[in-house]
């Protein structure tokens, strides 16, 4: 138990870095994922094709492979990063955006057909139908799955710890090496900080889901 209190600064540092990775990757993934979903339903065939192939391949790529690519293979190819956080953010946001695109697309499909028909019948173009009518409703219904994806993102950011980023998992690994006699407590501390993020987010997803269920 003491080992957690003694090393609280390291934990806190790792916790903040995990939060930072999750928030930045989350924002990038939300934007890019929504764009991908819009491309998937657009009238332009090339965009539809690109979005479909991207989502299908990235969803079936293990995250560790994405990280390995960003942190080990890319630098070999001449794309070097000042900080490994950048590689981690690239891997996490590229991976997560595929799941977000799928979620948003399922939200678009769940909006009643009449909404789009009504919008078109008053003369709206595709871009207007999508941004003014469909997406605002679609995003609202997919908030709970989106939160679940973000929870997965927080947990996934732990892989960054194995690729030179000292976030929560990376700090935990170092502390475990330094305190061989108290490994259990070191890792329990790490778990505690993860649960500090994931469990409240899970409850938020439940609450929002109930609200949305009533609103519909």
């Amino acid at each position: 138990m003491d080992v957690i209190i003694e090393n609280l600064p390291q934990y806190w540092d790792g916790f903040l870095r995990t939060l930072f990775l999750s928030v930045v990757s989350g924002i990038i993934a939300l934007i890019f994922g929504t764009v991908l979903a819009a491309a998937r339903v657009s009238p332009i065939a090339a965009l539809r094709g690109f979005s479909m192939v991207y989502v299908e391949i990235v969803r079936n790529t293990p995250l560790t492979i994405a990280f390995f690519f960003a942190a080990v293979v890319l630098p070999r190819l001449g794309i070097t990063f000042q900080q490994f956080e950048v590689a981690a953010i690239i891997a996490l946001s590229a991976y997560t955006s595929a799941f977000i695109a799928e979620a948003v697309r399922s939200g678009v499909n769940s909006v009643p057909v009449g909404q789009a028909e009504a919008a078109r019948s008053i003369g709206m173009k595709f871009s207007q139908v999508l941004t003014l009518i469909i997406l605002p409703q679609a995003l609202r219904t997919v908030i709970p799955p989106l939160i679940n994806i973000l929870i997965a993102l927080v947990k996934n950011s732990s892989v960054a710890g194995a690729f030179y980023v000292l976030e929560l998992f990376g700090q935990g690994k170092q502390l475990a090496n330094a305190n061989g006699d108290a490994v259990v407590w070191v890792l329990v501390g790490v778990a505690f900080f993860y649960l500090l993020i994931t469990i409240p987010l899970g409850y938020l997803a439940n609450v929002v889901e109930r609200k949305v269920a009533i609103a519909r």
Partner: protein, 278 residues
């Protein structure tokens, strides 16, 4: 193809869409060509780099990596599924002394990174990395399986359980013989989709030094020289993705087939792989 989101294209819209498509293809193709040219400049496509695949030992190492990946996934899946069933039964038990602690354990397991559980088992119990990988996968996925099956049980019409109890089955018998078989059948696509997640997560074994496919790539790159990293990585990643794609297709096929056959249809595979808790 027609969509409700835009009008059936007329000649003008078709032209615009065609031009858009061409521009899109040119942009995406241009980026690809740029990437390929950058790679070519570094000599990635030199024949001698790929000649590494003529060495039989390279394929032996890759095969061993695939074998290790599949072995961990198979053992974990075989243990996690019955455990998930058990956890599900405990989670929906009538006895609060069983239900509430199980719920806490499940929340705990679902909220933690898999790789942390692997590291925990590896360091605390000083096991082999294979056991650590399997244990981490089992702990996490049994919790997810339990939640998926529970969602299936809850999606059944109330009358199923009531009828079971009315003909004199005990609560446990009703769960086992009436509700679970239907729930599992309904959630089959989700369960298979979770298998894809499990298969993908075996790659986390790389972090705890388990000799799976990615670790084999690393070993080969260290042994043969860094110039071979890209070719070997490329092939290994392609194999990994191909296996995952195949299992994903199976889930989609089951969903399509199930929506025709299973009574009341099957539930759709949730996007995040995890059904939203209710």
């Amino acid at each position: 193809m027609s969509s409700v989101l835009y009008d059936v294209p007329g000649p003008k819209a078709r032209r615009i869409s065609l031009i858009g498509s061409i521009i899109g293809v040119v942009v995406i193709g241009g980026l690809l060509v740029l990437a390929v040219m950058t790679l070519a400049q570094q000599g990635i496509f030199d024949a001698n780099r790929w000649a590494v695949f003529q060495i039989p030992d390279v394929w032996v190492l890759i095969a061993n990596g695939i074998g290790a990946t599949l072995a961990a996934a198979a053992v974990a899946a075989v243990i996690a599924f019955p455990l998930g069933l058990l956890l599900c039964l405990m989670r929906i038990s009538d006895n609060a002394w069983i239900r509430v602690p199980t719920r806490i354990v499940l929340e705990f397991l679902r909220g933690m990174p898999v790789v942390l559980m692997m590291l925990f088992v590896l360091l605390v119990f000083a096991t082999s990395s294979f056991v650590a990988v399997v244990a981490g996968l089992v702990l996490y996925n049994s919790a997810i399986f339990a939640e998926i099956i529970r969602a299936g049980v809850q999606s059944l019409p109330k009358g199923q359980r009531e009828a079971g109890l009315a003909i004199g089955l005990t609560s446990f018998q009703s769960r086992l013989t009436i509700e679970l078989p239907q729930a599992i059948r309904r959630m089959l696509p989700s369960l298979v989709a979770q298998l894809v997640v499990l298969l993908k997560d075996t790659s986390l074994g790389y972090i705890v030094a388990y000799g799976e496919l990615l670790r084999a790539v690393q070993v080969m790159a260290d042994f043969l020289g860094p110039q071979y990293l890209f070719p070997v990585f490329f092939v290994a990643a392609a194999i990994y993705i191909a296996i995952d794609l195949a299992v994903s297709r199976l889930a989609i096929w089951l969903e399509r087939r199930g929506s025709r056959r299973a009574a009341g249809g099957v539930a759709h595979v949730p996007v995040a792989g995890i059904p939203a808790a209710k």
